[in-house]
């Protein structure tokens, strides 16, 4: 069971990363407009 002392902190780190990513994505407005992207044509031009 000693492996839990490694796995649980690892899980904490992963969750922190997932939570941080989610908050960043929401705050930067990525969930604001879910329709436009679907209508976007494949875009090969360099930006």
């Amino acid at each position: 069971m000693q492996i839990l002392f490694l796995l649980i902190p690892l899980g904490v780190v992963l969750m922190a990363a997932a939570g941080g990513l989610l908050v960043w994505a929401i705050r930067s407005g990525q969930y604001e407009d879910l329709d436009s992207v679907a209508e976007r044509m494949p875009d090969d031009e360099p930006r």
Binding site: V12, I26, D33, S36, R40, R47
Partner: protein, 732 residues
């Protein structure tokens, strides 16, 4: 500098700045633009590339045809960015910024982030708490058990502090104002559960309540999020209206055309509206004819043809191929657009009376729960310290009156939104309750059951003047009136001067035209050439004789018969009250299927009739055009107006039929009954739940996590029950 770049410079003026953009920190400002000419994903990418060197945080929304970005006015003025977009074929539409709307957007993002964190963390806490439930814990290595406890604390902290912040802040606000609302028991239970558990983690033993606290935060914020979404949807119409307000106008003066801020336009200015642009103010058309899209104002999908001198409404869009000119007649808050926006904003602020009672009740209820929880803890303390806390927490959580306070407003918001989609705007939410009880509907005739634009069908000359001359005199007398009958004479306008015009509703108009006194009003009897019986007869007299008789005909609305039939199917008594003569009233009534007709009624008579019906215990809805029927509408239990171009803010209307269609009306009482039933179900359910669960919690039979689940489920049931409304309505 090109002409098009000059056109945009008006937006750099300091007096326009705050209505267009909002400060975004670091010397930057944020602006939201409408963008025409954007059709596909490639356009989105192109606009983003165009703006990249000039602006930051560019967000293009293809569905809404909007772009939002931040710019630094010190480095590059907004006008050059606008000119750049315009030059590339994307015509910017500068929208009025509504602080509330943009605040909402940012608030909604933060709310979503809080829910996301709460969901992630509460799942982790639940997972870590699971092995410690019941007897399983006995077999776990004590050091691993400690690890699980500390990790629970770690995950519960962001959930409670970040996810639960709205509840904590709300409770703090309420307490500072020396009130108790439902945030207080929620916050108390979250904080107590969290602090006690944290202390027990440090102490190394004792039951933890992190699972209850996090689950409570997660489920409650979910319910609040759904509630906010349904409110936002109901406010969608308002939002689109606000977005239509124009900020500048093109003024045609002696020195040519000039783009000026709307605040500088004065009455009588001649303004130009290019094809595809919205009319900035209400005004009279100076061109022969123009086609306008009034969809946003009235819901009418087809373009409306307007002739010279007719009133154009701010917010309607010139869909003709040529620019049109108009003379400004109403500015700012006097325009129809501003008035309808004001009516809707008022409706949004008003809370139905029973809701006010319920809010106060929820406050008292919250206080009661706090006392009961304290009492429970005190009663258990002498028996069992451990159980006292868990029972008190269960009482706090289980009996929180969240569902109770959500019950009403949500169903109302969903119902109003549904009515608005059908074309009925609820101007006074308190009328919804009475709408459900309506058993008698009285209609006005002209402009209500018939189209609002009657035409002069026949002129019978009785005096010495020519028909054209008689029509011109009538047009001069009726010039200032908003009554639908007056509109019929507009096209015969020869701009004769009229003075001392007095109108007595239901009796006619008198005034001086070119120095002579004339009178126009209902004519007696039928003349030989009057045509169909459904015509309204008006007579024009001078001081000696009758000069002419006009037969006016307003065709019945195509949907009137179906609407009347639908109302009658619901067992509603339908009546027609009109100031017109018996014969045309009867003819119309036969066409639309009304059997009870009262003709030749003055506004006072109509009001008296409504009073009599009410004395018999009936609940009366009056449908009129809003101005000529003011007394009738004021006397009815529910006043429903179809106020096309009439002064809306003065009209006493509970409901507005915006798309000038009666079709929506027939479904309104049914929907109102549906809303009321839903509210009753919700309140009944919430009360039943609270009453049933309280004794269980006080007896200590509920673990706090069960209470959290039950409480949140109760709130969710109420929310979903209210949201069920729109979908059901659409199938009808």
């Amino acid at each position: 500098m090109s002409a098009s770049a000059l056109q945009w410079q008006v937006y750099d003026r300091p007096e326009m700045r705050d209505s267009i953009s909002a400060p975004a920190g670091a010397g930057q400002r944020e602006v939201l633009l409408g963008l025409d000419g954007m059709h596909c994903g490639a356009c989105v990418a192109r606009v983003e590339r165009l703006l990249a060197p000039h602006a930051s945080q560019v967000q293009v929304n293809l569905a809404g045809r909007t772009v939002q970005f931040r710019f630094a006015p010190e480095i590059e003025p907004l006008s050059s960015i606008l000119a750049l977009l315009d030059g590339e074929g994307y015509t910017p539409r500068v929208l009025a910024q509504d602080v509330r709307i943009n605040g909402d957007r940012r608030g909604a993002r933060e709310q979503l982030a809080r829910i996301g964190v709460a969901v992630l963390c509460s799942m982790q806490v639940m997972m870590l708490a699971w092995p410690t439930y019941g007897s399983d814990a006995a077999g776990i290595d004590p050091s691993v058990l400690q690890l699980l406890r500390w990790t629970q604390w770690l995950f519960a902290t962001p959930c409670v502090i970040y996810g639960g912040w709205p509840f904590l802040a709300g409770a703090a606000r309420a307490l500072r104002a020396r009130r108790v609302d439902m945030d207080v028991p929620i916050a108390v239970s979250i904080v107590v559960a969290y602090l006690v558990s944290a202390w027990r983690v440090l102490a190394g033993s004792g039951e933890l309540y992190f699972d209850s606290a996090t689950m409570f935060v997660m489920l409650l914020s979910g319910a609040r999020f759904l509630e906010g979404r349904s409110r936002a949807r109901a406010a969608g119409h308002l939002r689109r209206l606000v977005g239509m307000r124009k900020l500048t106008a093109t003024r045609v003066g002696e020195s040519g055309e000039q783009t000026v801020p709307l605040a500088q336009v004065v009455l009588g200015d001649v303004l130009k509206v290019a094809p595809g642009e919205a009319v900035p103010v209400d005004g009279a058309l100076l061109d022969l004819a123009a086609e306008l899209d009034e969809a946003l104002l009235s819901g009418e999908a087809k373009p409306v043809l307007h002739r010279r001198n007719e009133r154009l409404l701010a917010g309607s869009v010139n869909v003709g191929a040529a620019p049109l000119r108009l003379r400004a007649e109403a500015l700012g808050s006097q325009t129809w657009l501003a008035q309808i926006t004001a009516v809707l904003q008022r409706a949004e602020r008003e809370r139905p009376p029973f809701q006010q009672v319920l809010d106060r009740f929820a406050g008292v209820f919250s206080l009661l729960i706090l006392m009961l929880a304290a009492g429970t803890a005190w009663a258990w303390w002498s028996h069992d310290h451990e159980h006292a806390l868990s029972a008190a927490l269960a009482v706090l959580v289980a009996s929180c009156p969240c569902a109770l306070s959500l019950a009403g407003p949500l169903a109302f918001a969903a119902g109003s939104g549904q009515l608005a989609r059908r074309g009925v705007l609820v101007a006074r939410p308190r009328s919804l309750g009475r709408l459900a009880d309506v058993d008698t509907v009285v209609f006005d005739k002209t402009g209500t059951l018939t189209r609002s634009q009657p035409v002069v069908e026949h002129v019978e000359v009785l005096g010495t003047e020519t028909a054209e001359r008689c029509l011109a005199i009538a047009a001069a007398l009726e010039r200032e009136l908003t009554h639908p009958l007056a509109q019929a004479f507009r096209r015969y306008e020869q701009n004769l001067p009229a003075r001392e015009v007095r109108s007595a509703p239901g009796r006619g108009v008198a005034g001086l035209v070119e120095g002579r006194r004339y009178w126009i009003g209902a004519a007696d009897g039928l003349s030989a050439g009057a045509g169909e019986a459904a015509a309204t007869l008006l007579a024009l007299r001078d001081e000696q004789q009758t000069l002419a008789r006009f037969a006016l005909q307003a065709p019945p609305r195509p949907e009137a018969a179906a609407a009347v039939a639908a109302l009658r199917r619901q067992g509603i008594d339908v009546r027609l009250l009109t100031g017109d003569a018996e014969a045309p009233a009867q003819a119309l009534a036969r066409l639309v299927g009304i059997t009870e007709v009262h003709a030749r009624m003055r506004p006072e008579d109509k009001l008296e009739h409504v009073r009599q019906l009410q004395a018999q215990g009936r609940v009366v809805m009056a449908v009129g055009d809003g101005i000529n029927d003011a007394p009738l509408l004021a006397g009815a239990d529910v006043a429903c107006a179809m106020p096309q171009g009439a002064a809306l803010a003065q009209a006493r209307a509970d409901l507005l039929l915006v798309d000038e269609s009666l079709r929506a009306l027939a479904g309104a009482p049914t929907l109102a009954r549906d809303i009321r039933r839903r509210v009753q179900q919700n309140i009944g359910w919430a009360l039943l739940y609270n009453v049933a669960v309280l004794p269980l919690a006080m007896a200590g039979a509920l673990a706090p996590w069960m209470a959290a689940l039950g409480m949140s489920a109760s709130s969710l049931i109420v929310v979903l029950n209210a949201l069920r409304l729109p979908r059901r309505g659409e199938t009808n």
